[in-house]
């Protein structure tokens, strides 16, 4: 298992007009559960369908319709909880969160306020080699997503589509353990990576399948340590919640703006009002969502349509036994088994597809050389052309074959790059290509010797010069390589040239 010990990063300090301030950030991440059907109905979760076509009478909240829970969505939440080293609650229950909005036909969201399915866990957020923030997870609960309103199709009306209504969401709530905008973005990135490894959420932020509410407050240096020692929120400042952000860049910009806004108020002798705010990326500022304030009386009560959700420990154990290898463990294994650097291990474990690809290339081969080829040659080329690893024209088996030829001296490093180019553009079996196109490295010293003798015999003037200035031996090496089409073993050529010139 992972035995890396991390040092905590320093909290971000913002210098105010009067003195220094620190940030305290907690996040609520809404992650759409990957499933075929919705949380409480048999309608599809697929995107891109005709409006209101993936809607059942349950989702449309027709009178008399009753919710029936999708067991797989429960399993996904449990799997996520295990992945975040969290306590799984065998007893959980659903509550109604009441509010009126056109995209919520029930007039309430079925959620889990009092008894969430997952309790306390943690996420290790790396901020550099050996430096990481441990962000505590307070809880994860299951709830229904809302529909979508479209405001730009008509000047006087909004259009509403319930296709997303009732799709399962996991709300992942952190403790206020995040201490700066960069940490906040890194936390979202790490959580996204874990969810994608687990297969419980696709992490597509652009389509809102992963979105964040960010709670920001500011305090004086030392206050946060007092909070951590006592867990008494009284040591922290009043927080504002910035709703619904789905870009790492905006999350950082919004936190930075919001912190400076609060600092300006406090230094001016004012008080921060606890409220919900919205980030406007065009203006680069947050503004109050005053309309939300009164609606914030949700009048939660236990949902009378649903019995408590009781799950069995044996089922949880079975899910735990089928857990995939997670990012931290995979990174540690890549470093320990393949001797990768921290940086290379991070690059290769960022996405699961890339990690699988590398694993296959590196298995039974030199890990460092494999990492070098996968990162520099393959990723470099794919990035340049805007392709993902899944679209790679070179398979792991082909790249592995190339590394075998390079490793056993059949081809030189230079020829290997030519071979990679052929594999990338034309495809084929590496060994067959090398055979068919005569790309084998010439290690037969007799053949190389003949070439060296020929070059020396043809260039007596150069030979004289080289005897005066041994650095010119490089010219002979170059000529021999040229004469052999780059296939001569460079080390052997070097040796022979030096010896024959008597240097």
């Amino acid at each position: 298992m992972l035995d890396l010990t991390y040092e905590a990063p320093k909290a971000k300090v913002i210098a105010g007009a009067k003195h220094d301030w620190e940030l305290v950030i907690g996040m609520e991440i809404h992650a759409q559960v990957s499933s075929n059907a919705k949380l409480f109905s048999g309608a599809s979760t697929a995107v891109g369908a005709e409006p209101n076509s993936n809607v059942s009478f349950v989702d449309a909240a027709m009178p008399g319709m009753l919710p029936v829970i999708n067991e797989f969505c429960v399993e996904q939440a449990v799997r996520t909880g295990i992945g975040l080293k969290a306590r799984i609650n065998l007893f959980s229950a659903f509550d109604r969160k009441n509010y009126f909005y056109p995209d919520l036909p029930q007039g309430y969201q079925i959620s889990q306020l009092y008894h969430p399915i997952v309790g306390e866990g943690e996420v290790i957020v790396e901020m550099g080699p050996g430096v990481a923030r441990r962000v505590r997870i307070e809880r994860i609960h299951l709830e229904q997503d809302a529909g979508k309103s479209i405001h730009d199709m008509d000047p006087n009306n909004s259009f509403v589509d319930f296709n997303r209504t009732g799709v399962a969401l996991m709300e992942i709530v952190s403790r206020p353990d995040i201490r700066g905008p960069e940490e906040a973005a890194a936390y979202v990135a790490k959580l996204r990576q874990i969810l994608r490894y687990l297969g419980t959420c696709d992490g597509d932020m652009q389509h809102g399948n992963l979105r964040a509410d960010v709670n920001v407050s500011v305090c004086r240096p030392g206050d946060y340590e007092r909070y951590q020692a006592t867990q008494d929120f009284g040591h922290l400042g009043t927080r504002c919640e910035i709703k619904n952000m789905n870009s790492m860049r905006f999350i950082q910009a919004a936190i930075d703006y919001e912190a400076r806004r609060q600092i300006a108020i406090l230094e001016d002798g004012g008080t921060v009002v606890q409220e919900t705010r919205l980030y406007d990326p065009d203006k680069g500022e947050t503004r109050s969502m005053r309309s939300k304030e009164e609606a914030h009386d949700y009048r939660y009560f236990p949902c009378p349509d649903l019995l408590p959700l009781e799950i069995e420990q044996a089922w949880v154990d079975d899910i735990a036994a089928r857990m995939p290898e997670l990012p931290d463990a995979k990174k540690a294994r890549f470093m320990a088994d393949y001797g990768l650097t921290d940086y290379d291990a991070n690059v290769l474990t960022a996405e699961l597809d890339a990690a699988h690809f590398f694993d296959e290339v590196a298995k039974g081969r030199d890990g460092k050389i494999a990492a070098n080829w996968v990162i520099n040659e393959l990723f470099g080329r794919l990035n340049k052309e805007g392709h993902s690893i899944a679209e790679s024209p070179v398979s792991a088996a082909q790249l592995g074959g190339l590394l075998d030829l390079l490793g056993d001296g059949t081809i030189s490093g230079k020829i290997a790059k030519d071979l990679f180019e052929i594999l990338y553009t034309e495809g084929g079996d590496p060994r067959e290509i090398v055979e068919a196109r005569g790309m084998k490295q010439v290690t037969d010293t007799g053949a190389i010797e003949a070439a060296v003798d020929q070059i020396i015999a043809d260039n007596p003037a150069q030979v004289e010069k080289a005897k005066q200035n041994p650095k010119l031996a490089g010219w002979f090496v170059g000529q021999v390589m040229k004469a052999t089409g780059g296939k001569a073993n460079p080390a052997a050529v070097n040796d022979l040239v030096t010896r024959k010139l008597g240097l």
């Binding site: 048999g42 059942s56 829970i69 009441n98 909005y101």
Partner: protein
């Protein structure tokens, strides 16, 4: 617990129920009466009694993750006061 006129007005607004100003006082009185009646339950000592969630011992029914419903756009929209191009049409709501 007693409900004053202001609370009655707020509850009505949250529930989107239109109540005439002149009816609020009477409503507040009725709501207070209901709550006072319910409060009699507080006299029972329930220390150590687990909350009852069902009268019969039942397990929450579950469904497999299979698409079995949907594709009834026309039926879903049938009761809507206004619909266009497959969407529900509502008065403009912009945050």
């Amino acid at each position: 617990m007693s409900i004053d006129v202001e609370t009655a007005r707020r509850v009505a607004k949250l529930a989107r129920i239109q109540v005439d100003e002149s009816d609020l006082a009477a409503l507040a009185g009725e709501l207070s009466g209901i709550l006072t009646f319910m409060e009699q339950l507080n006299e029972v000592d329930v220390t150590g009694v687990e909350p009852m969630t069902s009268v019969t011992p039942m397990r929450l029914k579950r469904r497999a993750d299979v698409v079995t419903d949907g594709n009834i756009q026309e039926a879903v929209l049938k009761n809507a006061p206004e619909s266009r191009e497959g969407f529900f049409v509502v008065p403009k709501v912009v945050e």
